[in-house]
């Protein structure tokens, strides 16, 4: 019984963990910092370095105007750039109809993987995008 409870609590503790594929350039350091943050939260990250990163983003369907350095794919949804983990989990818990993913465009200095460790995230928006090419404001830091 005790081992069953332990097994259940282990499952409960990892229920939020996601299997993430990240497409990035081998020269990108801030992508690696973002990945470290996601791994530290218990997520499993597989990294890919496509020869043509922009071509890979085209194939995945990341809108040009929302692009950053890395693209993460989780459960078929796209997560572009330095998105805080909490926004990704909130999205995955209840993905809006027609949603394709989230993006933090560009390279905001105070976003996860960019901000000095321990400092509050600020000065950027989390944008939702859908299969119809519509954008929406999901969160603001």
């Amino acid at each position: 019984m005790r081992s069953l409870i332990l097994a259940l609590s282990f499952l409960a503790g990892t229920v939020a963990a996601e299997s993430i594929t990240v497409y990035k350039s081998s020269t990108c350091g801030c992508c690696a910092e973002w990945i470290k943050i996601m791994e530290s939260k218990g997520h499993d990250v597989e990294v890919k370095h496509p020869f043509n990163l922009q071509g890979a983003k085209d194939d995945l369907g990341v809108p040009r105007q929302l692009r950053s350095c890395h693209t993460a794919v989780i459960n078929g949804y796209l997560f572009e750039g330095h998105i805080p983990e909490q926004d990704i989990l909130r999205f995955l818990a209840n993905p809006p109809a027609d949603a394709k993913g989230l993006a933090v465009p560009g390279m905001p200095g105070m976003s996860p993987g960019m901000a000095p460790q321990g400092q509050a995230y600020s000065g950027f928006r989390v944008i939702g995008f859908d299969v119809n090419g519509k954008f929406s404001l999901v969160n603001q830091y």
């Binding site: 350039s25 020269t27 990108c28 350091g29 801030c30 496509p50 043509n52 990163l53 922009q54 105007q65 929302l66 692009r67 950053s68 350095c69 465009p105 560009g106 390279m107 905001p108 200095g109 960019m114 944008i127 954008f135 929406s136 404001l137």
Partner: protein, 167 residues
């Protein structure tokens, strides 16, 4: 087109697979990103960044000496091109503009920071009307003509008819 050919520009848009613009804006104007504006950055500054700045250091193996020279030439060329930046959001326009002289090539960077389409009448500048989709940026290269041009939100771009020479 007004834009002079420059291999550094292509490199600027593609270096490292993501391009310099991700951190420094589409025309090295900063664009609110972490790297800030680098128009006019010297070769010395570029070499220093590639040697010392953590993100830039990772690019060293990607760039040949010729690549670095091309990039540096492009950035120095941009310093001679006045920049007019117009950012539109739901609160209105934010405009920054550098002084412009008649005949100069001017880069006008128009960003639509809102979630609706932005329709622009660009007739005064000799361009056809344009619609900028949400969160998109339009870069126009304009050969400045003399005149007074009204920009949104009481912005004013004045291009003098004659260069003023003081003897």
């Amino acid at each position: 087109m007004a834009e002079p050919p420059n291999p550094g520009r292509d490199l600027y848009l593609t270096a490292g697979g993501y391009g310099c613009g991700v951190c420094h804006g589409p025309v090295a104007n900063g664009g609110g990103q972490a790297g800030g504006p680098i128009r006019g950055a010297t070769r010395e500054a570029l070499d220093k960044a590639l040697k010392e700045q953590p993100t830039m250091k990772l690019l060293v193996d990607e760039l040949s000496q010729d690549n670095i020279a091309d990039l540096s030439r492009y950035l120095e060329l941009l310093a001679q091109i006045p920049l007019v930046e117009l950012v539109y959001n739901d609160l209105g326009w934010a405009i920054t503009q550098e002084p412009v002289t008649r005949g100069q090539t001017v880069q006008m960077v128009v960003s639509n920071d809102s979630f609706g389409d932005l329709a622009l009448d660009l007739q005064a500048f000799g361009f056809a009307p344009a619609t900028i989709t949400p969160l998109n940026t339009l870069v126009l290269e304009w050969i400045a003509e003399a005149g007074t041009f009204f920009l949104p939100d009481n912005g004013l771009l004045v291009v003098p008819a004659e260069d003023i020479c003081i003897h």
